[in-house]
């Protein structure tokens, strides 16, 4: 049974997702849109990798309601996130904040691209240097002799 649970967890988080419920939706469409946008960035803490926007787990429902409550209380998006991080830790954010813990994570993609670019550039420069090396007169003569013999 444990193995089964494990597999289940691996393939997707346990239950079929059925996220936002009709009762949760806020009357103010602007506020609701902000709530939805925020929800996409927040992790359902018990799921494999679903946001609270996608999940029907109880905790996801609670978090969605909480986000809306904070927004109605006049919190900014950042304040809502900070509030949740205080409660649940960085784990709740699907887009990790840039801290010294995540510097490698955020730095890796541009760094890799840069290193790759430099390597590729080096490839061309080295090759151009090779290509530019001209034949000495002696070599030129030998080439011509060889070509003449081929014909």
């Amino acid at each position: 049974m444990r193995r089964l649970m494990l597999m289940l967890g691996l393939i997707l988080s346990a239950l079929p997702a059925f996220a936002v419920q009709p009762g949760e939706i806020l009357k103010d469409p602007a506020l609701e849109a902000r709530a939805r946008a925020l929800s996409v960035e927040l992790r359902c803490l018990v799921c494999q990798s679903q946001s609270i926007d996608d999940s029907d787990a109880t905790i996801a429902h609670d978090l969605r309601v909480l986000v809306r409550e904070r927004l109605q209380a006049g919190d900014s998006d950042e304040a809502v996130k900070a509030f949740l991080v205080d409660r649940y830790g960085e784990y709740v954010l699907l887009r990790p904040r840039l801290t010294w813990h995540t510097i490698v994570l955020w730095g890796a993609p541009p760094a890799l691209l840069l290193v790759g670019g430099v390597l590729a550039f080096g490839l061309f420069r080295r090759r151009r240097a090779t290509a530019a090396t001209e034949l000495t007169q002696d070599e030129q003569a030998r080439v011509e002799a060889l070509l003449a013999r081929e014909e």
Partner: protein, 659 residues
């Protein structure tokens, strides 16, 4: 008794794998033809034995032999036959057996269909293949044996996870594994070349069809998995940047890069070292994917630590093969030599850009997938890396790549003319701009990003067709003449066009379904209606359903457009009694390439039901594009040049001087 035959066949296959890994290898080093010839025999025999063993396990599932532990844990006598069979690989042990089966299948195919391969290279390739299969056969026998008996046997099984009882999931793993494991062939070729110390254009020509085959299956497998998630999970998402998805996406990105760099190697003998490295990387990522999915490390580092046997076993296989391959690479790569020269603006240059961006994108997915695991293991800190991260990092890398795609085929080898290429693409550029203007006129100003995305998709599609148009002189000579020219083009040229066109189709689907997606969440009672765009859905009522091991309710909706009934839809809620697990089955209706998607939430006692209705514009194109890409791969595979058995080109007697 029958089950024991399967078990025994597996042990026998292991013995043969060990023999097939050592004897031909020894023979290749000593130049002993008789020992080298052993390779093909053992490869084919391994396949026959593992196939027998797999057939036996399938038989045990079909007849519901509950004296086998694996069958008890994952089957049920009332399950439909299809899911009894697919249940064979719907669990850890069975899926590893399928993994090995496909591995030895590829070995047998190489043994049977490469008569023109030099004997030594063939012996080495098959030896490497045998090492891999020996390692995984050992793993299956020691750590995940599906043939273990249970005494006393229970009367009934525990049924398969309901989410896996689905046609999509029945074919998804075999397709994905054909892709994953198919990458082992290019890996084996790379290792053989490193051992042999020799590599040339012919090598690239032998490797490309195998890579292309694996790539086609991987593309299909990933698309299939994505579509399954889309209709099964009930909220219309189709890609989650879940570690399990990433595990299959990384080898795909690497294999795509490999396909392209192998072209450079075949035509120009350049990028040799890089191509070898990519071949090793691609299979390493497949192994990594197997480790991630099969070890349990993903659920949490701690879950892995509590039952580490399997994980550590696969980790050891991973370390031995990847570590060994990279050591060999480090030792030998320098001796391979450089190939032809080329300017930055050239076909080679374009393919280098392709490789640069694909590899960087692949590395980004790699870092994003493994970083949380590493951080937790090292510091105990838990973070999440989800879709918003990948959207911000992976996305921007794809944009320049996709913009560059149509240019590639227009650039000449060695030294290309970017201005001329641009001129030939003017029509594609014009088409993209026209779409932007029409979009602005029709829809006011939607998001600029959406408009850019649509223009990019059109650029890709028309740009891909432009190449064929140019080569057939379409519009400049008579249609018949163009037709004749088109028919005379190599299949691989058509393959490129079709595959690149497919990317455009997928991009169009992604952008359109994201930008013009409507979502309605509400509570309905029978008789009530909901309007989605020009269509009106009426909830007619409830219908009880039952089948196999579940019972449930479906809700019947009638869809009307302008008063006429255009469709009926029946989303379901099921309860699988054995595992006591509820599932929802969404109802999907396709209109053109767009889809109406209805799924159910809670049903109250008074009949009011929570309903989610989506309209997803052009969403089907996402998967259709993947099919088109695969078709491009298949076309290219049918090219005469790549056909196994095509006469090999005369080997260049004097290698190009390097520097």
């Amino acid at each position: 008794m029958i089950v024991e035959i399967g078990h025994y066949a597996l042990v026998l296959a292991l013995a043969l794998a060990l023999a097939g890994g050592t004897l031909p290898f020894w023979g290749a080093l000593r130049g002993d033809v008789r020992l080298m010839a052993v390779a093909s025999t053992t490869a084919v025999a391994q396949f026959l034995l593992v196939a027998l063993s797999f057939a036996v396990l399938t038989y045990a599932y079909v007849v519901s032999d509950f004296s086998v532990q694996n069958v008890v844990e994952n089957s049920h006598s009332l399950k439909p036959l299809l899911y009894k069979v697919s249940g064979v690989w719907g669990n850890h042990e069975g899926s590893m057996l399928l993994w090995v089966l496909i591995l030895v299948l590829f070995g047998a195919l190489v043994a049977m269909f490469s008569e023109n391969l030099p004997l030594k290279l063939k012996a080495l390739v098959l030896s490497v293949q045998s090492w891999i299969s020996a390692a995984f056969l050992l793993f299956v026998l020691i750590a995940s044996n599906p043939f273990l008996r249970l005494d006393p046997a229970p009367l009934q099984g525990r049924d398969l996870n309901p989410l896996l009882q689905d046609v999509g999931l029945a074919i998804h793993p075999p397709l994905l594994y054909l892709g994953y494991v198919g990458c082992s062939i290019s890996f084996a070729f790379a290792i053989a070349a490193l051992i042999d110390g020799r590599i040339d254009a012919a090598w690239a020509r032998w490797v490309r069809p195998w890579t292309l085959t694996a790539w086609c299956f991987l593309t299909l497998g990933i698309a299939m998995g994505s579509y399954w998630a889309y209709y099964e999970l009930g909220w219309g998402g189709w890609w989650f940047w879940d570690p399990v998805e990433n595990a299959s996406f990384m080898p795909w990105l690497a294999a795509t890069a490999l396909l392209h760099s192998a072209i450079v190697m075949e035509k120009r003998e350049a990028l040799k070292i890089w191509t070898i490295l990519l071949a090793i990387l691609t299979f390493s990522l497949s192994l990594l994917g197997t480790f991630l999915v099969r070890s349990g490390v993903l659920t949490s580092v701690h879950a892995f630590a509590t039952d580490p046997t399997r994980g550590i076993f696969i980790l050891c296989i991973l370390c031995v093969f990847i570590g060994g391959a990279f050591s060999l690479f480090a030792a030998r790569a320098g001796s391979l030599g450089q190939g032809g020269l080329f300017a930055p603006i050239s076909r080679e240059g374009a393919l280098v850009l392709n490789n640069l961006l694909l590899t960087a994108a692949c590395a980004t997915v790699f870092v994003g997938t493994l970083y949380p695991l590493a951080l937790e293991a090292l510091t105990g800190e838990k973070i999440s890396v989800g879709a918003p991260f990948f959207d911000m990092t992976f996305g921007p890398m794809m944009v320049p790549l996709l913009i560059a795609v149509p240019f590639g085929p227009f650039l000449a080898w060695k030294r290309g003319d970017i201005v001329a290429a641009g001129q030939r693409l003017l029509f594609a550029f014009g088409a993209a701009m026209t779409v932007v203007v029409i979009g602005l006129a029709l829809m006011g100003t939607p998001s600029a990003l959406a408009l850019f995305g649509i223009a990019l998709a059109v650029w890709l599609m028309v740009g891909a067709l432009s190449e064929i148009g140019f080569r057939t002189k379409l519009g400049r000579v008579s249609l018949a003449e163009s037709w004749r020219r088109g028919a005379g083009l190599p299949r691989s040229a058509w393959g490129t066009t079709v595959a690149h066109f497919g990317i455009g189709v997928t991009v169009l689907g992604i952008i359109a379904s994201t930008a013009w997606n409507s979502e309605t969440i509400l509570t309905l009672k029978p008789g009530e209606t909901v309007t989605v765009g020009s269509r009106v859905l009426t909830m007619d009522g409830f219908v009880p359903i039952s089948g196999g091991t579940y019972t449930g309710t479906s809700v019947r909706f009638t869809v009307r457009e302008g008063g006429n009934v255009v469709a009926t839809m029946e989303p379901e809620k099921r309860l699988y009694s054995v595992q006591n697990m509820p599932t929802t089955e969404a109802a999907i209706k396709t209109f053109g390439f767009s889809q109406l998607y209805v799924s159910l939430g809670d049903i109250s006692a008074d009949g009011s039901t929570v309903v989610r209705v989506y309209w997803k514009t052009l969403v089907a194109l996402i998967w259709l594009g993947a099919l088109v890409m695969t078709a491009g791969g298949v076309l290219s595979l049918s090219d005469r040049r790549l056909r196994v058995g095509a006469p090999k080109p005369a080997r260049r007697s004097v290698p190009l001087p390097a520097e």
